[in-house]
Symmetry: C2
Subunit: 545 residues, 2 copies
């Protein structure tokens, strides 16, 4: 392998600058294209995205070729990176994206003669990009590459930027579509702040030269909008994996780091009390029913919107309340847990924590705006009260769930000997860090010394951890499965189009439709991403606890 | 001192959650209050800010009392935190804020009978807050406290949040004022997206029951708006210092860390070639003249706006071009520099780097939106060309200046022996990290071993660093002084009200006034903060190089 890097931050600086500039350019074009007053056409956006995807594919092929040719380039693998559920989710969402691309190609081919060629090229190139990238991430998510550091960093950052640009474009396109369908269903144009030109959505506006009026074209159009959530999640999953690879470029791992502890093979559901999954499944099914009823009632005639909102909010309040209580009890269980905290450096976990905290901001912001609108606004009725309770519980649920997940991710796996933390000047001769023992000790002299992970005698640990660990472990598994299922149903509702934020008139009347639409359209994608990311983190908690 | 903390991230989590929630609540109220359609009144915002400041003052007094009583609480001081120029700047901006508070009190007292009492109370409480906080930061910016960890973290985060809320309120108030004065000067109301209700700004709208028409009231009003930039910088400086204190809570420092290297006392200007400061001063004076002429011409009759814009853009292009070249040559000089990179953990520096990169995003975004507007928009004239060149140079200048500053901050001080990096498994027996020697070495075996900072023989280093170091050092000092003066003049222009973004009609016509006003009003505060922060970082570069 090559010589040790002298200044890692300097190597990263270049790639970050590249990514920031490309991302801002894409952001400018995409946001400009979303406003129909602005003379940026969606063909410009498509052309930019297509060019970026082609470049990223070329770089990925180059990377795969090079790492196949020179096996010395990869001296280490990061065991924490790219766990199987993340890669499995990526493949699943990738397949859905491919289906979406088929639908999109079909949709644009329906009126081939009056479209620019880039619109049909774009989904085809996207399909190639998805296939190549999924293979690449499946094969090399764990790599810690040690040759061509700067080039690899730039390539990874560029691919990451491409994924984020695709994500932004999809979110904007979906918001435009939502605003459009909402305003056409309600017959007023006050919500179409993000209106699209008729040519883009191929809507049935009068005088459109290329109407999408055949049955198959309608199916294609409907289909690809229902598949957008999967495309969005695919881009975000790929981005997180690319980020971890980027952090791992040029990383040196000691041998104990490199091998890590493979998560124990668990037999699914055998170690739970069944209460969590059963309760979770009940909530999931009820939630699905509530969601379908809500969609039917809201998109039908306007008279039943009130009922739909009441049932929607009631279900959400019950669900969020239960989740809050369950997360809290999980945190309480940890207060009695004697497993040491794992303080190893772990880019995957740091990223997970950062994303959970960051993505929660989106839902927090929406909730605070709702609270202010309900509290300050004058008409206080049942719906206002439900809305207020919903917003407050949403904040509580995000907070306590984050606390629970973050604490879980930092616990060592069960039965493992708690070991020293190499970076923190451990006390001499303290082999396993029982918390009580640590508190009882006099203050450790902070002499830095050789910090190789000392393997404690496994017997001693077994004696400590076995007798009382079992019921706690089963409880934690129940809790994580319950939270997981609840997060899935709370992901489905907004991802597939429930927008009580607009059906409920409180905030729209208080803030005005354009401001409120901007708030929701910017913050909600983060809220949706939070749910999906919480699901993947809770799966990890389930396996590890 | 207390027992070692078991899980530092867990301790931080609570305070971050508190800060996020308080900040979002403040953000909601402040942004809601900025739109006059929304029924959030500025008295609500003032009441919230006053309550937050009172709480923060109480906590600060409690902290000062406690740390005075129990001197064991502070076993270490972080030598990098709170350097003298940051604390000096804080005191300077604090004094200006006090003057602003006097003006504000005078302004609101002018029509005492028809104001709510909170509006007069608010500047008074703010004055108390500024005095107490400035004293607190002056005394304890370097503290690494080791008692009541969680409480201290929450207190620091709450004080930080208070400062950020004050910053947001000031920025919003200034944007409202700018939009108001711009639209009243140009006689059209298309820019008043952020219009305020007449009661708030006390403007001379017809039918106002409390007009500000006495001479002294007008002076107070003018004065306090001109002092806003200092208040804004004060809040941001205090925030950065509080953040570093928060990072230092519970931090353990080895003795070599604790003492650090005090920056050598330099005799100002003696070690430069004078070219940098002289050229910088010339640009500063010319820039000031251009700025005054611009302000006079734009605020006068509309016919001379074109001329004013041409001179403004021309000056900026020359200035930015020179800064880009100078930053680049600084980076070139570093390629010949043999000082090792300092890889110690240093929260102050990490924050500085993050803020430089993050704050630059604001100006980047504005520039990219300008570029798209000029390139895609149809009318291409002199002004469009100047605007395009200005935007491109702005991006280049931010990029290269950031690269130069970040590399400078990571160099060790001159003449210091380059030492081993404790966290990076240094090669055995490699005492000082000459870059050439490091590359020539075979790959170091990555055996983790005791990484105490080995003191190399000082003679050897002196022999290496003295003969060629001198002209490079003087060059670097020249470069940093030149960049510093340029950044000051580029701070003055937008901070005191130059808005070519609106006078120049290209972007307004392209994006529509409301979208463009939103972009500029959100991004420009970060751009202004970037300039001030670059000045403080360049001062550090000047002292250290």
């Amino acid at each position: 392998r090559g010589p040790r890097e002298v200044w890692k931050k300097g190597g990263r600086l270049l790639s970050v600058l590249l990514a920031v500039n490309v991302l801002l350019l894409a952001c400018t074009l995409i946001s400009g294209g979303a406003f129909n007053k602005v003379a940026v056409y969606d063909t410009d956006v498509f052309a930019l995205l297509t060019a970026m995807m082609l470049l990223a594919v070329l770089w990925i092929l180059f990377y795969l070729l090079r790492s196949a040719r020179c096996p010395d380039a990869l001296p280490y693998l990061d065991a924490h990176a790219g766990p199987i559920w993340l890669r499995g989710g990526l493949v699943l969402f990738g397949i859905c994206t491919l289906v979406m691309d088929v639908f999109k190609t079909g949709y644009y081919s329906s009126f081939f003669e009056c479209q620019s060629v880039i619109k049909i090229l774009h989904p085809l190139i996207q399909a190639v990009f998805v296939i190549v990238q999924t293979y690449f991430l499946w094969v090399s998510a764990k790599d810690c590459i040690h040759v061509h550091l700067d080039l690899t960093r730039c390539g990874l950052m560029f691919t990451l930027t491409t994924n984020l640009a695709i994500w932004m474009a999809a979110v904007v396109d979906e918001s435009v579509h939502q605003a459009h369908s909402y305003s056409s269903a309600h017959g007023n144009a006050s919500h179409t702040r993000l209106t699209s030109d008729p040519e883009r959505t191929g809507s049935t506006a009068g005088g459109d030269p290329c109407p999408c009026d055949t049955a198959i074209c309608q199916i294609f159009q409907q289909g690809y909008f229902y598949l957008y959530p999967f495309n969005i999640e695919y881009s975000l999953f790929a981005s997180t994996m690319l980020y971890v690879m980027w952090k791992n470029v040029g990383r040196l791992l000691t041998s104990s780091h490199g091998h890590g502890h493979a998560p124990p093979r668990v037999s699914l559901f055998r170690e739970t009390f069944f209460a969590g999954p059963v309760l979770g499944l009940i909530l999931f099914v009820v939630g699905l029913a509530v969601f379908i009823i809500y969609e039917v009632q809201v998109s039908g005639e306007g008279s039943r919107t009130q009922e739909a909102l009441v049932s929607y909010y009631s279900f959400n309040i019950v669900c969020l309340g239960l989740m809050t209580l369950v997360s809290l009890s999980g945190s309480v269980i940890y207060r009695f847990d004697r497993r040491a905290m794992d303080q190893h450096k772990n880019p995957t976990r740091t990223l997970d924590v950062g994303l959970l905290m960051g993505a929660a901001l989106g839902q927090y912001a929406i909730s605070y705006y709702s609270i202010v609108a309900v509290v300050v606004g004058t008409p206080r009725d049942l719906l206002g009260g439900l809305n207020l309770a919903h917003a407050l519980l949403m904040i509580a649920q995000h907070t306590f769930q984050n606390v629970f997940i973050i604490e879980s991710l930092h616990r060592g796996p069960p039965g493992e000997e708690p070991r020293e933390t190499p970076n923190k000047e451990p006390c001499q001769g303290l082999t396993f860090a029982n918390l009580d023992a640590l508190h009882a000790l006099p203050a450790c002299p902070s002499t830095p010394r050789l910090a190789s992970p000392l393997e404690g005698p496994p017997e001693a640990v077994t004696i400590i951890s076995t007798p009382r660990g079992h019921w706690r472990r089963r409880c934690l598994k129940d809790i994580s499965l319950f939270l997981l299922l609840c997060n899935v149903i709370l992901w489905i509702m907004p991802a597939f189009g429930a927008r009580p934020h607009f059906s409920n008139r409180v905030e729209v009347d208080f803030y005005g439709s354009s401001l409120w639409a901007a708030i929701v359209n910017i913050c909600l994608p983060f809220g949706i991403f939070y749910r999906m990311h919480a699901v993947s983190s809770l799966l990890e908690v389930y396996v590890l606890s």
